[in-house]
């Protein structure tokens, strides 16, 4: 378990750049992730957000929960808007019309906005090498529109467009590995994080923000509403995701892999799946299939860390 010692609150900045009064569900660990990222980045940031849960809960005209510059344009273009903000600022600094304050350009979106509809824009932004940070808040489905499946929905999870029925076991495909796609673009920094491990998350975001060039942080964001767990269990389930190897915490710096939290021997995946209503229908066979896959992927990852 992460060393959450006494006086933990003194280790992070007090100021909330993502303010209370937002309209996220009770126990939304994605809102918590946004809060932690906002603390890590501070006030010197420009945020380009995709359409999604976090955009909706934080920007109902005429209100805003953002105390940093923030723009929302559409669903699939957060990375492109962030690219434009970064390039525009770069030009203005070079032409002497703005002073260089080292402002961080953040593109943020959910799993759908990142690995489905926004994949093209993100890939383009990575390839062009913009100096920006992209954070994916992955709650493993299109939650804002009512829990529909995305390519980030894990195998066997029930969603409204991949329901568990007589013929289908929920989601029939395996979760798209977005961090690996980011690594394949040869960007300087890629990391996974989870709001259940706040200091690990904050450190990674701070590191990513300092990187020159594109950086990508993929945050597992537990959604009690969509995952069908009681709201108070959001942090607890996130820990299980990491401890069972379903969502390992690692970073890839200049292509070099490193586990930032070595959980030792993996707990059985069943412990993570059983408490979630979206996996309620899984048979022992399906759980075994999932266990096999998780173990394989984790082993592959461990090998990469030795290279």
């Amino acid at each position: 378990m992460e060393p959450l010692n006494v006086y933990a609150s003194r280790l992070i900045t007090k100021k909330e750049y993502f303010t209370p009064g937002h309209r996220a569900c009770q126990g939304c660990a994605e809102a918590l992730a946004v809060r932690l990222v906002a603390k890590a980045l501070g006030k010197n940031v420009v945020v380009a957000s995709a359409t999604g849960c976090m955009e909706i809960v934080s920007s109902p005209l005429p209100f805003t929960n953002w105390e940093v510059p923030w723009i929302h344009v559409a669903f699939e273009n957060a990375a492109a808007v962030a690219s434009g903000a970064e390039a525009g600022t770069k030009a203005l600094i070079r032409k002497g019309r703005l002073t260089d304050k080292g402002t961080v350009f953040l593109g943020m979106g959910g799993d759908g906005a990142t690995s489905d509809i926004g994949l093209q824009a993100l890939s383009g932004a990575f390839e062009r090498g913009h100096n920006f940070l992209y954070v994916c808040y992955d709650n493993e489905a299109y939650m804002n529109t009512g829990i529909q499946r995305s390519s980030a929905t894990p195998f066997g999870a029930a969603t409204t467009t991949s329901p568990a029925g007589k013929l289908k076991p929920g989601q029939v495909t395996w979760k798209k590995n977005m961090p690996e796609i980011a690594v394949a673009h040869n960007i300087p920094y890629v990391a996974t994080a989870c709001s259940s491990y706040p200091f690990d998350l904050i450190e990674k975001v701070e590191k990513a923000a300092r990187i020159q060039g594109p950086a990508y942080v993929h945050i597992l964001s537990i959604c009690p509403t969509g995952w069908r767990i009681p709201p108070d269990k959001a942090i607890w389930i996130g820990r299980l995701a990491v401890e069972t190897g379903v969502f390992p915490l690692y970073e890839v710096e200049q292509g070099k892999y490193r586990l930032t939290l070595d959980v030792g021997e993996l707990r059985p995946v069943k412990e993570y799946l059983k408490p979630q209503g979206r996996f309620r229908h899984l048979t022992d066979d399906l759980i075994a299939e999932i266990q096999k896959r998780v173990t394989e992927e984790y082993d592959k990852l461990k090998i990469k860390t030795t290279l």
């Binding site: 808007v81 903000a85 030009a91």
Partner: protein, 392 residues
């Protein structure tokens, strides 16, 4: 006075963008816009234009990048045609609602299908309601002038709206014309530095693009509509000032040969020049024909149009786009709507022609005129629109 240059209009357009000292160019290649963007990238590569040139991976991203860059206060330009415009459609509407002063040259080309690289106005008609200021250029000089006009109007704090300059693909983009470039000093007088009304900057954090609940949405649309309508004041000012500086005086609706005209041709874009040859010929034959050229498409110039066609008995509206199963070409529909409440409504004959680059000669216009003469004589109920020259 600036120098007179014989150059391909696309290159001149790029030179005008360079003179405007643009900060960001984000574009994706599509025929027939390519030469504009290629030349801009050359200017940047050679250090002649200090700008970020962003070769985006799609037009949707082009307009999105433009939104981001305009929002931080950078002078922003893009350029596209037909399918590219269709792909960025979503963001075009949003850019106007965000009141971001992006300038776009639209090298008019036909929308698929079938696929066509050739020129007509179906692309710009597909975004009629997008909320951008929209103007049409008829020749190379007008293209050059209107690039500078576009930045001037878009970025005016009383306007703060994106602007499209429509230039006919191939007919203008790929043709060499003699044009008078402006000199640096004149550009400086005409085009001030960009000072955005709202800007994404940590010193003053603002939220752009909040979502609109039903309770407030109608008010946001009213505000946007008013902004576009009121922009006409600054548009007229910008044209007047340009006239004073370079001697070319543009109007929302331009006319020629109206004395004694009972019939007028109405066009938008480069076809106007060809029509004027037909008008000359017809007038030499004693026909009472004149010409109206619509330059400002949005905000629609109602007063100027009504004034221009006062006393006219028939308007031959040339459309270069079609509304399947609808009341005809978009321009004719709007002309009819604009004149509906006038005391006397002229007959309106709508010819759809020049679709996807099909040539329309002065002779064709003369034939169109003769057809309307016959219709006037016969006094039959006329068709709403005629697709001119279709082989049946």
């Amino acid at each position: 006075m600036g120098e007179r240059v014989g150059i391909e209009v696309s290159l001149a357009a790029a030179e005008a963008v360079k003179m405007a000292n643009v900060d960001v160019v984000a574009a994706y290649p599509i025929t027939p816009q390519t030469h504009i963007v290629e030349h801009l990238s050359e200017l940047v590569a050679d250090g002649e234009l200090d700008a970020e040139f962003i070769p985006v991976e799609s037009e949707h991203s082009a307009m999105s990048v433009c939104c981001g860059s305009s929002a931080v206060g950078a002078r922003t330009f893009t350029c596209t045609s037909a399918q590219g415009l269709a792909l960025m459609n979503e963001i075009v509407f949003i850019a106007a609602s965000l009141r971001l002063p992006i300038v776009m040259i639209l090298a008019n080309r036909s929308l698929s299908g079938p696929l066509s690289i050739w020129n007509d106005h179906t692309d710009v008609m597909s975004i009629r309601d997008c909320g951008w200021i929209q103007v049409f250029a008829e020749n190379g000089q007008e293209v050059f002038d209107h690039v500078l006009f576009a930045f001037r109007v878009a970025e005016d704090p009383k306007v703060s709206l994106p602007v499209i300059v429509n230039i006919d693909g191939f007919t203008l983009t790929h043709v060499i014309e003699p044009m008078e470039f402006w000199d640096e000093e004149t550009v400086k007088k005409y085009l001030p530095d960009f000072k955005p009304v709202n800007q994404l900057h940590p010193d003053r954090p603002v939220t752009m693009g909040a979502f609109g609940l039903p309770i407030i949405f109608t008010e946001t649309k009213k505000a946007q509509d008013e902004a576009l309508i009121k922009s006409k004041t600054e548009i007229l000012k910008a044209w007047k000032e340009m006239g004073d500086l370079v001697g070319r005086h543009y109007q929302p609706v331009e006319t020629n040969d109206l004395e004694g005209a009972e019939t007028v041709f109405l066009t938008m874009g480069s076809f106007g020049e060809t029509v004027s040859l037909a008008v000359n010929e017809l007038r030499s034959r004693g026909k009472a024909v004149g010409q109206v050229r619509l330059r400002l498409w949005r905000p629609f110039p109602f007063e100027e149009l009504r004034e221009a066609v006062k006393g006219v008995k028939r308007i031959i509206v040339i459309d270069r786009a079609i509304s399947y199963g609808g009341p005809g070409g978009p321009v004719a529909s709007e002309i009819r709507a604009a004149l509906y409440k006038e005391r006397t409504m002229p007959a309106i004959t709508n010819f759809l022609c020049g679709l996807a680059g099909r040539d329309v000669t002065p002779d064709d216009y003369i034939k169109m005129y003769e057809k309307t003469e016959k219709m006037t004589k016969k006094k039959v109920r006329e068709e709403d629109y005629i697709i001119y020259g279709v082989r049946e």
